[in-house]
Symmetry: none
DNA sequence: CATGAATGAGAGTTCATTCAT
DNA sequence: CATGAATGAACTCTCATTCAT
């Protein structure tokens, strides 16, 4: 088996992520990645042919992580997703800084953009699926199940965006009310069902 | 050489915005701005002492536009806001490309980040205020009025993020259902009120 | 009479000197001069057609000051010169920082260099003249009166160079011994004279 | 492209010295150094991380050369030093143009200034030591041996400064009389000894 | 007289990238 | 496999200078 000598590709990607989050897109340089990883710039080029490829590798890595997370069947998937979303929702969120940096970078690179879109779509779908299991009917007439996934996923991302921009954003209390909101919707499905 | 009054600061900011959106954060160079504006790089530096200052000027400009938009009292403010949100929600949305690029840039610059956070906060507040006028009570128990503003604003931004990443995102239909969602919520306030 | 409105040429030269000393040759910019003087760059150009001309004006100013100092007849001229030299001999000597900066600048500009050379020559001459009045004969055979002026002037400048480079240079004690040195030489002229 | 080992650091320093002397401090640009050395600017930056570091490297190089020169024990060290001083004393003196440019540059950079001061101090000391070997006693009462080193070194530098500023400075004859001066001083030590 | 807006060349510096070793 | 030296283009930024007002 090919045993990488000093650093594995996977490790490099991790270091690159850190760099991207710490330095920001504008100062995300291959030299910085190399230094963080303790290798030379040449080494980066041995593993990734260009900077773009490295960025793409980061995106692919996020995709995979995301698929796995989504695919793993869980009891109470919605509650789980909500907990995970809340834990990532903060002013210093590694994940969202990374994601939003990649979004900005995606405006220059269709492939990155497209892949990030796929992640979103998959999340939407997973949410829709799980909500279907939970709700006998749509809580509100005129809103399809697929759309509920999209709307709620959008809410999660929108809240993350707010948190990442506002130091004093009250994540805890908002998420508590967010849960009430979801429970309230669920309750509606019962009432509707009874009718 | 040295013709006075070729461009105003305001015009430069407009050109800079265009550049930022068209070229993306990584390739947003002062040379590009200068070329777009038809002036020399020196002129940019005469008006904005650094690139960072130019970015800040863009953010400040967005802030002002945003305040004005929010401050102007309107009938049916919610409907208006929704229409405006929908019109800006697209794969090629100038506004959201600009905003998200600035968000990424804000990870390097607290002032930018803070100002963007202020915009969000102001939008939240405006939404809350308008919803208060519309809803006699909260549609769902346990969700305060302020939180409704935050949640719905998050939804709008989250949808924009989705649209900007997915070429085939069905903005029209989603927004139609989004309206149903809001109407559904409004309906709930009536029922609650009757109780 | 033409009454300069905001600043006189002379004042500008003073500000320019300050800038040159404070910022050093490499960062001696017309903008800095303008700011220091509280005028715009254009104003500098009204008074001096180029940066070179400004530097030359500084040199000319130093020349004039120097001539006047030298020309003024004094009793005990040597003692006076020595006292003045000592007072200018320090790590932060405005005069020598200025002079040496101009010397370096003179390597690019023959006119500056030449004028600085003239100052030196005049100082040499004045010293020689004064020594002649003091010494009946040369203290040491084979050293002409003109040369004594040159040697002692060189010593003064050399000491200043040392002082300007060494924070802990013991100016006081060195100058005390420098005086002994001169007195010793004077004593020699007496002995020689008696023979 | 990218041929390894085109220039050594040492060579670059030499080229940089040449540039500094030829172009003067104000026009001493890294581009010029690169062109002189036949490499690209990037190469300069690979070896010296900033322009300041390059200047410092030049100073350090001069220091080392200077130490070696001083440390090497010689017969008739004074005569040797004088000969070397005379050879470097001219209107176009590479060494003194370099040194004085660095002095001016040192006004912006304490490290450079300090190192240049160290060179002076070491020269002073070496001179004092050598004079001690030559003179049984101080030629003139009230002037210590250390001070003699300082005074004579100052003279050497002062003469160099004069020479560098005056095209027609009579280096030859002055140095001849300078030698008489030193011999005269030596003679005094004998007389003093006899007393 | 003096200014402020603009210029354009060039400064120092960084960066992705290459390639012999 | 990995490195270190080198590249060259591009970047941000500064500067002396110009000129209409």
């Amino acid at each position: 088996m090919a045993k990488p000598n000093v650093v594995s590709k996977r490790e490099l990607i991790q270091y690159a992520k850190e760099c991207l989050v710490e330095k920001g897109l504008e100062q995300f340089t291959l030299r910085a990645v190399a230094e963080t990883a303790g290798v030379t710039q040449g080494t980066i080029y041995y593993h990734f042919r260009t900077k773009e490829q490295l960025l793409l590798a980061i995106v692919r890595d996020i995709c995979e992580t995301s698929w796995q997370e989504i695919a793993r069947p869980k009891e109470d998937a919605i509650a789980h997703a909500l907990a995970s979303a809340r834990s990532r929702c903060s002013y210093d969120s590694f994940f969202h800084k990374l994601f939003l940096s990649l979004v900005a970078s995606g405006f220059n690179n269709e492939e990155i953009r497209h892949k990030l879109g796929e992640i979103m779509a998959a999340e939407n779908e997973a949410l829709s699926r799980n909500l279907s299991g939970l709700w006998a009917a749509s809580p509100i007439e005129g809103v399809s199940r697929d759309t509920w996934g999209i709307l709620i996923n959008a809410m999660v991302d929108g809240l993350a965006l707010q948190a990442v921009l506002q130091k004093d954003f009250p994540v805890e209390s908002i998420y508590r009310e967010f849960e009430h909101f979801l429970k309230g919707l669920s309750a509606l499905t019962d009432k509707e069902g009874k009718k």
